[in-house]
């Protein structure tokens, strides 16, 4: 792999840009691998990358039914923050956020991490108390957040209407080192680095069945035939229920649609991320000038990658109230992703009933921010066969044992 650098640009400039290589190879599958990861979204690719980087395991295939990064990783609104309430969540999201800080250098690929600050508005007294509690929890966890006044909110984001009429802004939980990143680049950067380590990224290849013998996986049946493996990692987000069914177990997960939309591009008017959970909408501005907007999930199982229209109406109603400036904006595009919602709104990074089969899923509406940390923890779990400290609490048996990592009480919106 040729490194990207200012010298590479200069070199290519004098060669009419004829020397750029493909970012990753597209090999045909081998008969067997040491590790197969199903799903080339951010979490699957990051798992493979840290298997190679941290554990030297590179005889790895990442099998993807569509194109890499075409799932939720390429459909999200890219909010990165780590101001969660529960200790296990704060630990893994903060690990992830800190890995984002240097990810472009690590991968030699610009993921455009932009720590512009994330502001979660408190618009009811209940929310004020909730965020004060989170702020204190974050202080104990070593996550830098602060509860700020309405005046400071207005200074940081002048286009915000803090005076109501329905829900005046009473303060906000502010994480200055939160922000956004370029979602596609995260997938592409990890894919390029995995390919450079000799791993196989096999796109347009759907896993149709999981074969096992004596309680252990032997391989997967795919649209390109049977591929054997010593260890299997399922990292397929919305399709986790399907993969689990192939392997013969059930998950505490429902797949539902979550939508996002972007406006026509306008001049820079907002340089922070704002989440308004009471009225239920959130917004940031992309580098192209589009306002990037997200809202609520549908309340029923859905695999179609399109959600119900009334959510768009509700989200925009909420945001017009919060940001009156956007009332005349035209919306350019709208899309949906299938998110994997667990019973306690926290993910699974877990062993499964099959000995050499591991699962990483349940990131639901908020797993883009978790990609580096989740891949780090999942790689450790798969390499050692036992979870390290980051993954330990996120096992799938917590539902049976009643040890939930309850983030749903901590925030109405979890993006």
């Amino acid at each position: 792999m040729k490194r990207y650098s200012v010298f590479a640009i200069a070199r290519e400039a004098v060669r009419y840009h004829m020397g750029w290589e493909r970012a990753w190879a597209s090999p045909e599958p081998k008969p067997a691998y040491d590790v197969i990861i199903v799903g080339a979204g951010g979490h699957g690719l990051a798992t493979a990358y840290y298997l190679g980087k941290n554990f030297g395991i590179t005889n790895v295939a990442i099998i993807e039914k569509g194109w890499l990064g075409g799932g939720n990783t390429g459909r999200n609104t890219t909010i990165i923050r780590s101001n969660y309430l529960q200790d296990p969540s704060a630990a893994i999201y903060e690990k992830s956020r800190s890995l984002y800080e240097t990810l472009s250098q690590d991968l030699n690929y610009n993921v455009m991490f932009s720590p512009r600050g994330v502001m979660m508005l408190a618009q009811t007294h209940h929310e004020v108390r909730g965020y004060l509690r989170t702020q204190h929890a974050n202080a104990l966890q070593g996550v830098a957040t602060e509860f700020i006044t309405p005046q400071r909110v207005k200074e940081l984001c002048p286009i915000l209407n803090i005076d109501g009429p329905r829900y005046p802004v009473l303060g906000a939980l502010w994480q200055a080192r939160g922000g956004t990143g370029r979602h596609d680049a995260v997938a592409w950067g990890y894919a390029r680095a995995c390919s450079a380590m000799g791993m196989h990224i096999i796109q347009n290849c759907e896993v149709k069945g999981v074969r096992s013998e004596n309680g252990a996986v032997t391989g997967v049946d795919t649209t390109k035939g049977f591929i054997g493996t010593k260890k299997l990692g399922m990292v397929v987000a919305g399709h986790s229920g399907q993969l689990a069914e192939m392997a013969g177990f059930r998950l505490p997960i429902e797949a539902v649609a979550l939508q996002a939309l972007v406006s026509e591009p306008i001049k820079p008017c907002m340089d922070v991320v704002v989440m308004a959970n009471t009225v239920h909408g959130y917004m940031s501005q992309s580098d192209k000038g589009e306002m990037v907007i997200g809202g609520g999930t549908d309340g029923f199982n859905n695999y179609t990658q399109r959600g119900s229209f009334h959510h768009i109406e509700e989200t925009l109603r909420a945001l017009v109230e919060t940001f009156p400036i956007i009332s005349r904006l035209k919306m350019l595009r709208q899309w949906g992703g299938i998110v994997d919602m667990t019973g306690d709104r926290s993910p699974l990074i877990s062993k499964t009933p099959l000995g050499n089969c591991f699962i990483n899923c349940g990131w639901g509406t908020g797993g883009f921010k978790a990609i580096p940390g989740s891949g780090w923890a999942m790689a450790e779990l798969m390499a050692k066969g036992e979870p390290g400290p980051l993954a330990a609490e996120f096992n799938m048996w917590r539902f049976k044992e009643g040890r939930f990592i309850d983030e749903s009480v901590a925030a109405g919106v979890a993006h």
């Binding site: 229920g241 059930r250 505490p252 997960i253 429902e254 029923f300 199982n301 009334h310 539902f399």
Partner: protein
Amino acid sequence: MLTLECPYCGVMADETELSPGYEAHLKRFGPGASPEEFEAYMFARKNPKGVHFERWRHSYGCGKWFLAARCTATLEVFGTYPAQVSEPPADIIAKIQARRPDWQPDWKATK
């Protein structure tokens, strides 16, 4: 927008008039149940890509709970039926099989 017919009052109700209740025909467990049974009832979900049976409440109408048979891969609705049954009635099964000839009911095997 999803539209379902309430089997009690006969209203064709838009999704905004209804409240979703997720998987239907779950076997309930209470005090004294094993952790496995309780987990199966409370959390472990079928979450199929295809034919699915769900609970819905006509919350901004007659207020009653009913059940619906739907395809989660296409959003097609096969039919709705009252909630006082432990498995889908024969006419609903027939409607599903008319549209999905390969589909077989599997609750007898799993329950």
